[in-house]
């Protein structure tokens, strides 16, 4: 390989691939940061419950919890640390989702994508975030000063609060609310407030219309999403996230998705509605319009803008996590039912090591399933074009809502008539899993045919 000719600008060009140091450093940080975050969630979420803190005070500090003066301080401190960890988790996962989405999408488009900043371009999102921070923070003079500044934080709050009820593992949930899923729907509605505030406070008619249209989109699609969520709630008999997961099993034929054909329909409706709520293609007209004309984000720059995009990409994780909870069996580990967890916990106040190991396993299962659904969302984005506003409304009210109602009523009947018939669940599960496997096999065959038709091969080089 010849060196660059003398007339090119003098910087040392990298000849060939990244040097080993860079690759190792990127791997270390790329796996290290999520590992640290997951470990923090793993350790902190079970331990921030009052019982555990009492056990900690009793066993480790050797004090009596009832009279320990700093007990409330410890409660508050542990919750605060967990909250901090979760918000960071959301932000960093959002950044890494950007990286992953861009790499995947670029291969779908026959190009390489980010590959200079760190091995595989892993730190590009850090560079983008730093760039956005360094931009000038413009606020229009006639904009409503307080609301303009406050709007991004509504959106950020709506996003961050969802992490409170995400079940990362068997006991790894910040707050096991008995209205968990209801809380999730309620809290994501804050995003609408943020959008409307952004549109209105920008003092631009076009921004206002863009914001109103986007808010209309998000609000309309909450109806089919809510009705679709009722289907697994009916099947589980509870609104609590952990309870919904516990009522499913670990194997595919025990997931909600496959034990009830109407849950399959409900999953599709839920998936489409979540795409619309997250402003993802094919429902990103409010944002795409902002390419050509101003949208609700037009007046935002620098960090305020960064917050909106952080929330959009972080929402992928939340959407996927909720879908996994409701339909894909959550963190359920194969071969490890509730009795295995109880046995591993031991009799003492603080749980034993085997229990922690099982928690890590359950967290891994949850993360893997969430990443799978996240990839589905990314895949759909880069394949489909955008839907127009009126078509979007037609889709919601004429297609999704009726089907959601049908699924809901049918699930009611299903639960009453068939769910208690012994073997009904397993039979349905087996049939649906088998048919899904057949469909997947056909899909893989079609994909292979696409490759062969163009004379290409599977080739994962040229990163």
């Amino acid at each position: 390989m010849t060196a660059a000719p003398a007339n090119t600008p003098t910087r040392t060009p990298r000849i060939g691939a990244n040097p080993r140091g860079v690759v190792l450093g990127t791997l270390a940080i790329g796996f290290g940061i999520p590992a640290v975050l997951f470990a923090a969630v793993l350790v902190l979420s079970p331990l921030s419950k009052p019982l555990m803190i009492d056990a900690f005070i009793r066993n480790v500090l050797g004090q009596d919890p009832a009279t320990f003066g700093y007990r409330n301080l410890l409660y508050g401190l542990s919750v605060a640390i967990l909250a901090f960890v979760l918000v960071n988790f959301g932000a960093i996962v959002s950044g890494m989702t950007v990286w992953w989405e861009m790499r995947v999408s670029s291969r779908m488009q026959s190009r390489v994508g980010y590959n200079r900043v760190g091995a595989g371009g892993f730190f590009q999102w850090v560079a983008d975030a730093v760039k956005l921070l360094l931009k000038e923070d413009l606020i229009p003079a006639d904009a409503d000063q307080l609301l303009f500044r406050a709007a991004p934080y509504f959106v950020l709050t709506g996003f961050a609060l969802t992490f409170v009820a995400l079940p990362f593992g068997e006991s790894l949930i910040a707050a096991d609310l008995n209205v968990g899923i209801f809380y999730m729907i309620a809290v994501t509605a804050l995003v609408v407030v943020g959008i409307l505030l952004a549109g209105w406070s920008s003092n631009s008619k076009w921004a206002l219309f863009g914001g109103m249209r986007s808010a209309a989109q998000v609000i309309s699609y909450e109806i089919p999403a809510g009705i679709a969520i009722m289907v697994p709630v009916l099947m589980a008999g509870s609104l609590s996230m952990q309870e919904i997961i516990r009522q499913q099993g670990a194997w595919p034929w025990q997931w909600n998705l496959f034990t009830n054909p109407f849950a399959l329909v409900a999953f599709v409706i839920f998936f489409v509605s979540q795409l619309a709520e997250g402003n993802r293609t094919p429902f990103d007209l409010p944002e795409a319009e902002s390419e050509l004309v101003a949208g609700y984000l037009s007046e935002y720059s620098s960090f305020r803008f960064a917050i909106y995009f952080l929330v959009e990409f972080g929402n992928l994780w939340v959407m996927a996590a909720v879908a996994v909870t409701l339909f894909f069996g959550g963190w359920q580990v194969p071969f490890a039912g509730p009795e295995v967890f109880a046995a591993a916990k031991g009799a003492g106040d603080l749980p034993g090591l085997a229990w922690w190991g099982l928690q890590i396993l359950s967290m891994g299962v949850f993360a893997a399933k969430t990443l799978f659904v996240l990839n589905l969302i990314v895949w759909v984005r880069w394949t489909l074009p955008r839907i127009r506003v009126d078509q979007m409304m037609v889709l919601c009210w004429k297609y999704l809502v009726p089907f959601a109602f049908v699924a809901f009523v049918a699930t009611l009947l299903w639960q009453i008539l068939l769910a208690h018939v012994p073997g009904a669940r397993t039979a349905t599960g087996a049939v649906l899993v088998a048919s899904t496997a057949v469909v997947a096999a056909f899909f893989i065959r079609q994909t292979r045919r696409n490759l062969v038709a163009m004379g290409d091969r599977v080739d994962l080089t040229n990163w």
């Binding site: 007339n7 080739d459 994962l460």
Partner: protein, 227 residues
């Protein structure tokens, strides 16, 4: 092919599923194929200029040893970016020499019209394209030295080919002669015209009434100040 004016509710759903099936399988298949990107400049299999076709219209190169000084290229250029000056050799008035042969590569649009009329092929497009310079004046390539003009080539009508330096070597030599961010040649702008000599302020004006004298003095000074 779906005709949307006639499909009903169910047909719409069926078309959607079918078209999504095809679309998603195609993007999935592309995920597994090799991207076509050639990662210039440092991860190419060989230097890009060797991967270019022979007819590539890169920077122009003039081999002065076979230039006949016919100025056909100068006339053919649509933008007049070639400047050729011939002069008679003082020793031998019959011989002519080229004392200036400048090509402004910044103006050049790489059209190739100058290459066609050249009788010997002295001027050619090379495959060099990496010629960025910091100062645009450094893009004027001087193929003749005014201090030592080169004699024009006498065309041998029976020759089968005209001996030429390797294509691209002369251009590369020019690139390597100085770094890319070398300072440009200083062309001083022409000296501005000398300002007119200022009118001396009227000191004493005899035989003028005192009321008019300040007015006249004011009128005399303001034109001089405004100059």
């Amino acid at each position: 092919m779906p005709n949307t004016t006639q499909r009903g509710y169910v047909g719409h759903i069926g078309d959607t599923v079918k078209s999504f099936w095809h679309g998603l399988s195609i993007t999935a298949s592309y995920l597994l194929r090799r991207p076509v990107t050639v990662q210039y400049p440092d991860r190419t299999p060989m230097p890009v200029r060797d991967m270019l076709p022979a007819r590539y219209r890169g920077f122009l190169e003039v081999d002065a040893s076979i230039c006949t000084g016919c100025q056909a290229c100068e006339r053919a250029c649509p933008i007049a970016c070639i400047a050729i000056v011939l002069e008679k050799d003082p020793a031998n008035p019959k011989l002519r020499a080229v004392s200036q042969f400048d090509i402004d590569e910044a103006k050049c649009m790489f059209c190739g019209l100058c290459v066609e009329p050249c009788p010997t092929g002295a001027i050619q497009h090379t495959r060099e394209f990496e010629g960025s310079q910091r100062h645009v004046r450094n893009l004027v390539f001087r193929w003749a030295d005014p201090m030592s003009p080169f004699p024009v080539y006498k065309v041998d009508k029976n020759a089968e080919y005209y001996p030429r330096a390797q294509l691209g070597s002369l251009v590369r030599a020019k690139f390597d002669a100085k770094p890319w961010d070398a300072r440009g040649p200083k062309f001083l702008p022409p000296a501005p015209p000398a300002p007119p000599a200022p009118k001396p302020a009227p000191v004493a004006k005899p035989a003028v009434p005192a009321a008019e004298a300040p007015a006249q003095a004011a009128a005399a000074t303001t034109p001089a100040e405004s100059k």
